[in-house]
């Protein structure tokens, strides 16, 4: 017996000792999903973008609030309304020691369209670019197809690769597969690639020849942990130093722990409900004699007013959301000042509006929602359904796994559906253009407008704004467009998700509007 016990003790001690403390300069981050590739031009996807922003750098970048600031380009000016001249920063070298030149920029922007098998090509960000040329070693001229004020916002997403390192036999130079192995994965960023085991750790180490301020970390380990509760547990146990997206249920425990804390950031992604305003015989509606009540503005307003956004933000989202009165966050360029804060919930007024519209007895509707795609999505949909049911609109919830939800949405099987939109331009124009501009496949307008809202006045304002180079004039046009759509209840915003990160208590991170986790911005306090 005593032998067994001491034996047990010895082996426990051995286990404890084997748990070697991670060196002080390591940063372990539990991410919510892993990149699909390390090729910075393969797939437009957040996990990919944040990794490439640690290894590579674009000409310009966004600060935590989304404002544009210089990075590899120190300054830029317009040579004509369609010609932008970017002046590269002096003394920048790639991690292999070669200097950055205008040729690298031309090579990188040129490669974008050549990457094969891409699930979402980065041509998304070069749509407006007609040509790129090197005027000299440190000046790049980018020509746009028309006057295009958002060029710098697009450039944020286009990291610069080393021409020397990333050239190869394939048309695109180094292939995606080679880059995934780290071959040719040479950037000017604060970290360099060490290793990547798919499904497990991606390891980076500090770029010793980095031109800017050196990061606080010698080594960064990004570990995909898709289950949010697992991330919380790992942070609490000290296995990781930082986690993405704290789930609603663990907020209390992390805040109550002396060794961990939460930072949360500016409101970002908007959650909204889109309404079918085209068809008379809309599939999810019954009890209306074949009419579509959603075409009536009063009915849409009633549905808007029935929703208690404060209640959803505090009870369902656990405080990790801000009520939304517009599709754009209050600090976003072009959001209408009148709609920064939503009108308060008013079920009585909502019932009265239904009465006025001739639907005093209500009707039945099915609200479609994805399940597990956005934070607490199906729970938010259920709560909205409860609130609508209370004013007499009997609401059923059809919450389906993401692929089925998207299929139904694309086949327009929903009369009303809950969805979300992340804006990465910092301007409300792109959101309104995708969600509420009249659907036009060839012009690429209203590409996400499955409710088929259509308002020529709104279309005219958006088209005018997209060509207006003057910031003040463009802001005014966008604010007008936003106010027009919101007072027409074209779509029903619910809330903005507030991104959050769990951190070891002695670390600092400035929460970002683009929700990226950038290891170079994680610092130690004191």
């Amino acid at each position: 017996m005593s032998f067994t016990r001491s034996h047990l003790f010895a082996s426990t001690a051995a286990l404890l000792l084997a748990c070697s403390p991670v060196s002080a300069e390591d940063l372990v981050i539990g991410t919510k999903s892993e990149p699909s590739s390390l090729d910075p031009q393969f797939h437009v996807l957040s996990p990919n973008m944040q990794v490439s922003l640690a290894i590579f750098e674009p000409l310009v970048r966004q600060d935590a609030q989304g404002a544009i600031e210089p990075l590899l380009a120190e300054s830029w000016e317009l040579a004509s309304p369609t010609e932008w001249d970017f002046h590269l920063r002096e003394g920048v070298t790639f991690s292999d020691g070669t200097p950055l030149t205008a040729q690298d920029v031309v090579f990188s922007l040129d490669r974008v369209a050549k990457v094969p098998n891409s699930p979402t090509p980065f041509t998304l960000f070069t749509r407006q670019i007609a040509g790129v040329e090197a005027l000299d070693d440190t000046t790049v001229r980018i020509t746009t197809k028309q006057a295009y004020p958002n060029l710098t916002v697009d450039l944020v997403n286009l990291p610069i690769m080393s021409k020397a390192a990333a050239s190869g036999d394939a048309p695109e130079g180094r292939t995606t597969t080679e880059l995934n192995r780290g071959e040719g994965l040479i950037g000017t960023g604060p970290f360099t690639f060490v290793s990547w085991q798919k499904g497990a750790d991606l390891i980076l180490e500090a770029n010793t020849s980095y031109w800017g301020e050196a990061p606080d970390w010698d080594r960064v380990i990004m570990r995909p942990m898709t289950n949010p509760a697992t991330r919380s547990a790992a942070l609490l146990a000290g296995d990781i130093d930082m986690m993405e997206d704290v789930p609603t249920g663990s907020v209390g425990q992390i805040e109550g722990d002396a060794n961990a804390k939460i930072v949360s950031g500016p409101p970002a992604r908007v959650i909204f409900i889109a309404l079918d305003q085209e068809r008379d015989d809309s599939p999810g509606i019954s009890g209306t004699d074949g009419e579509n009540p959603l075409k009536i503005k009063e009915v849409r307003e009633a549905l808007f007013r029935a929703i208690d956004r404060e209640g959803i933000a505090s009870r369902v989202m656990g405080g990790a959301a801000v009520p939304a009165g517009s599709l754009g966050t209050p600090n976003m360029f072009g959001t209408s000042a009148d709609h920064e804060v939503p009108a308060p919930a008013d079920p009585e007024r909502a019932a009265q509006l239904l009465e006025e519209a001739g639907y005093g007895d209500g009707f039945s509707i099915t609200l479609g929602s994805p399940s597990g795609r956005y934070v607490n999505d199906a729970r938010v949909a259920q709560t909205v359904a409860a609130m609508w049911s209370r004013i007499g609109v009997k609401t059923a919830v059809d919450a389906a796994a993401a692929p089925v939800f998207f299929k139904n949405r694309d086949h327009r099987a929903y009369s009303a559906y809950l969805a979300s939109w992340g804006n990465n331009t910092g301007e409300i124009g792109t959101t309104l253009g995708a969600q509420l501009a009249t659907y036009d496949k060839d012009a690429g307008q209203g590409s996400a407008n499955a409710g088929r809202y259509s308002n020529p006045e709104l279309d005219a304002l958006l088209s005018e704004a997209s060509k207006t180079m003057d910031d003040d004039a463009r802001a005014k046009l966008l604010e007008e467009a936003d106010a027009l759509a919101m007072s027409d209840f074209a779509i029903l915003p619910i809330h903005f998700e507030v991104p959050s990160w769990g951190l070891r208590a002695d670390l600092e991170y400035e929460a970002r509007a683009d929700q990226f986790t950038l290891p170079q911005n994680v610092t130690r306090s004191e």
Binding site: A18, P119, G199, D201, T230, F406, K407, D410, S447
Partner: protein, 324 residues
């Protein structure tokens, strides 16, 4: 015997064909991979371009024929999501899962068989009743629940085991193994326990049932009547005969766990292939799902073959019974 094996492998080929058709049609019915893969910011024209580049704009049977042509040459296509060869993605992840499931099954057999035999030999004893009632808890709670409770207890509260991940690995040939390092073993304990608990309960129950069955058989009674010692009866007759149902169930469970250890892998962030499968299904990454399922079919057919061959070894008189 060899005719039996060849026959089985021929059958396996047809199973593979049927399977690939089913998965193709299945994914096609679920939804459009493009809506899962392409950034919402892309316009419909950009979507169409991606659809075309993946060949998804062609009729489904044309897509299938194309796939079949390349598959016969060993090319299962590239993952829509990562652009890497589907087969390679799966093989990269396989060692982690095999390690986890093997460890869990080993644990469940080592625990389950002795307890099951005890409970079967003395069904009325209190100890047996405790075993049987206790085993019920092993499968009445969802795996994700058990996993999280273990993490909270051993990793967060007691801090003696890591919460998740695979830990340090050792390269053995082309394969990364964590079972050979102490750190890797520590990472393996909780997920294997979670996965093995349900399996152990099942093995206990199957073993007990089989033991009781066989005890009542004529030859055991005959052996007892002949005055053979209990331990010899246990060793020679009983163990040999309870092995058939145990091998059947353990084999099936091993195959199932290997193919679909999804929940455990998710809860413990275990970089195995079960996780890859569910992610691929939910993003409708068809080449990966097809390749995965085909590999699993092949594996399960082989596993069943091995099980049937084992029957023959254990009980030579069953040789003609299992012949297909």
């Amino acid at each position: 015997m060899s005719a039996f094996v060849i026959n089985r492998l021929l059958q396996a080929f047809f199973v593979l064909l049927v399977m690939s058709v089913l998965v193709f049609v299945g994914i096609y019915l679920v939804g459009d991979p493009i809506s899962m893969l392409v950034s919402p910011e892309a316009t419909d024209l950009e979507r169409d371009a991606v659809r075309e580049s993946f060949g998804l704009d062609r009729p489904i049977f044309v897509q299938y024929i194309t796939f079949l042509g390349s598959a016969l040459q060993g090319d299962f296509g590239r993952s829509f999501l990562t652009g890497e060869p589907a087969l390679q993605l799966i093989l990269e992840r396989m060692p982690a899962t095999v390690e986890l499931v093997g460890f869990a099954m080993f644990f469940s057999v080592v625990i389950g068989v002795p307890l099951g035999i005890i409970a079967g030999l003395r069904p009325e004893a209190t100890f047996s009743k405790v075993i049987m009632t206790g085993s019920i808890f092993g499968f009445s709670l969802p795996t994700f629940w058990v996993g999280m409770v273990l993490i909270m207890l051993f990793a967060v509260q007691l801090g003696i085991l890591p919460t998740s991940g695979r830990g340090e690995t050792v390269q053995v040939g082309p394969i990364e193994l964590s079972i050979l390092t102490l750190d890797g073993l520590r990472h393996l304990i909780l997920p294997a326990l979670t996965l093995g608990l349900t399996k152990a309960s099942l093995i206990i129950r199957v073993t007990r049932a089989a033991t009781r069955e066989i005890q009542a058989m004529d030859y055991i009674k005959f052996a007892r009547a002949k005055g053979l010692s209990s331990s010899r009866i246990l060793r020679v007759h009983l163990l040999k005969n309870v092995l058939i149902p145990i091998i059947t169930v353990a084999g099936l469970e091993f195959g199932q766990a290997l193919a679909f250890a999804v929940v455990t892998e998710t809860v413990f962030s275990w970089p195995g292939m079960g996780k890859l499968l569910i992610d691929s299904i939910l993003t409708l990454d068809r080449p990966v799902v097809v390749a995965y399922v085909l590999i699993m079919v092949l594996f399960l057919v082989l596993l069943n073959l091995v099980i049937d061959l084992l029957y023959m070894v254990i009980d030579p008189s069953s040789r003609e019974k299992v012949r297909d």
